[in-house]
Amino acid sequence: MTSFRYALRDTFRLLFRHWGLSLLTLVTAASVLYILGFTGLFSLNLRQMISRVEGGLVVQVFMKKGQNADPVVALVKTMPTVTSAAAVSPEQALEKLRAKLGNQARAVTLLGENPLPWSVEVQVGRAEQIAPLVRDLIAVPEVEEVLYSGKLVERLTTISRAATTASGTILVLAAIISTLVIFNTIRIAIYSRREEIEVMLLVGATRTYISLPFVIQGTLLGAGGALLAIAGIWGTYASIMNAVRTSLPFLDIIVDRRTLLQFFLLLFATGATLGWVCSWLAVSRFISRASRAK
C-alpha cells in the first residue's frame, strides 16, 4: 500500500524531472497511435464501402412467358442470404427500359405489344452469395433466365476478399510497427536512467518497487499518447467527414458516433496496454541485466 503510494509519487518524479524525455516519448507514442488509429479507421471505412456496393448488386430473374413472379418471390423469401426481392411487372419493365435507353428511347416507342416478361429483382448482402443463389433460381421450372453481371460479381468478390486481406494486413503491420516504435522509445528512455535502476538495486529495492514507477509511467504515456492521437484523429476525421458530406455525398464514410466512440475507446486501451507492456518488458530486462552479479 505504502509502496504503491511511493510508486505513484516516483512516477510523477520520473515524468516531471525528466519532462523533456517524457514529452518526447509522449509525442512519439501519440504519432504512432495516430497512424495506427488512422489505419484502423481507413480499414473500417473500406469494409463498409465495399459492403454497401455488394449490397447494391441485383440479380434479375425473368419468368417464362405467361408466368407471374409469385413462385420465385415465395422461394426467395425462405433464403437467409437474400436481403430483398421485388417483383417487376412487364409494364414496369418497359418503363425502365425506356428510361435506360435515354436518347435511343424512340426505338422502344416503335414496339407494338409489350414483349417483356415478369421478372424479380433479388439482392443479397455479399457478392460471393450470388453464385449459389443463381444456381437455386435456375432450378425453378417457371424461370426462363437468370441475369446478373457475372463479371462484376466476380470482380466484387475478389475485390472484397482482397480488401479484407489488405486492410487486415495493413492493420497488423501498423500494430507491429506501433509496438516496435513505442517499445524502442520506452526502452531508450529507460536506458538513459540505467544508473538510477542500478543504484536502486544496490540499496535493496525490490524489482517491483523499481519497476512500478516505470510501468505506471509507461502506461500513462501510452494512454496520454492515445488521447492526443484520438484528439488528432477526431480533428482530421471530422474535417474529412465535412468535406465528404459537402463534396462527395455519395461516399459512404462512417459518421456513426457510437461506432467512432467504440473505436476511440479501443485505441485508448491499445495505447495504455502498449505503454504498460512495453515499459514492463523494457524495465524488466534492464533490472535483470543490472542485477546480474559479476
Binding site: 505504502t2 516516483d10 524531472r17 525528466h18 536502486m200 538495486l201 544496490l202 552479479a293
Partner: protein, 231 residues
C-alpha cells in the same frame, strides 16, 4: 552479523586476479580496517560482501546466508541488512540529499512518517541539515560523501561496509565521521572500512587487515598503518 570468507578468489576477464585465496573471519560487532595500496582488492572484497560480485572460488557467508546461494528475490532483503558507502557514492543526481536517504528507506517498504523522521535524523548526524535540499551536483565532494554515509546508515544495517568514507573529507570532518562509524559499531553493527587514511587508522586503532596484490598480508588486532618499508 558475522562474516566468513574461506579461500575466496576473484578473477576478472583477461586473467586479472583481484583477490586470491582470502580467508577472513569477522565476528558480529567487530570493527575492521581494510588497507592496502591502490588496486590491492579492497573494493573487490567489499563488493563480494555486498553481492555485487560473486567470488570465482571460495565460500562466503554473512550471518547465516551463503552468498553464492542468494536467490534473485532474496537479494534485496539481504542488501537491506548490509549498508554500503560506495567509493563513488552512487547517489541519484536528481534527488536532494534528503531524498537520496529517504528513497532508500522507502524502498524497504517503511511508512512515510518513519522514513521522514529517520532521514532527517541521519542527515543531521552527518552535518548536512542546512544542505539537505541540495542535489548531489550542487554539493561539494565531501558533502556528497556524507550523503552516501547517511544513506548507508539510515536503515540501521547489521553489517556496514564503507569504501573510503573519508576520501573527500578534511581532517576535522573525517574525525567526526570516524566517531559516527564507531558509534554505529558500538550499537552492535559489524563495520568494515576500506581506507587510505593513515591519520584515522593510527588515531583510532582497531583490527586492521592489509591486502597486498589481492592477498591478505597482515591481520592485526590493533594495527598501525605501515608503509612497505616500515614493515
Amino acid at each position: 552479523m558475522d562474516i566468513r570468507m574461506a579461500g575466496v578468489t576473484k578473477v576478472f576477464d583477461q586473467d586479472i586476479v583481484a583477490l586470491e585465496d582470502v580467508h577472513l573471519s569477522v565476528d558480529s560487532g567487530e570493527f575492521l580496517y581494510l588497507v592496502g595500496t591502490t588496486g590491492s582488492g579492497k573494493t573487490t572484497l567489499l563488493r563480494i560482501l555486498s553481492r555485487e560480485y560473486i567470488a570465482t572460488r571460495g565460500q562466503v557467508t554473512v550471518g547465516d546466508r551463503n552468498l553464492r546461494k542468494i536467490g534473485r528475490s532474496e537479494l534485496p532483503f539481504y542488501r537491506r541488512e548490509v549498508g554500503v558507502v560506495f567509493q563513488d557514492f552512487k547517489l541519484l543526481s536528481d534527488l536532494s540529499a534528503l531524498e537520496n536517504v529517504s528513497f532508500a528507506l522507502e524502498a524497504m517498504g517503511l511508512p512515510p512518517r518513519i522514513v521522514q523522521n529517520r532521514a532527517n535524523e541521519v542527515i543531521d548526524q552527518v552535518g548536512l541539515w542546512r544542505r539537505r535540499f541540495l542535489k548531489p551536483p550542487q554539493l561539494s565532494g565531501g558533502e556528497q560523501q556524507r550523503v552516501a554515509i547517511a544513506r548507508a546508515m539510515a536503515s540501521s544495517p547489521s553489517v556496514f561496509l564503507a569504501d573510503e568514507p573519508t576520501g573527500n573529507l578534511d581532517i576535522r570532518t573525517s574525525e567526526e565521521i570516524m566517531k559516527l562509524l564507531l558509534s554505529i559499531n558500538a550499537a552492535g553493527t559489524t563495520v568494515l572500512v576500506a581506507t587510505h587514511d593513515r591519520n584515522m587508522v593510527d588515531a583510532y586503532r582497531q583490527r586492521l587487515v592489509e591486502l597486498h596484490n589481492g592477498r591478505i598480508r597482515r591481520d592485526e588486532r590493533r594495527g598501525r598503518y605501515l608503509l612497505d618499508d616500515e614493515l
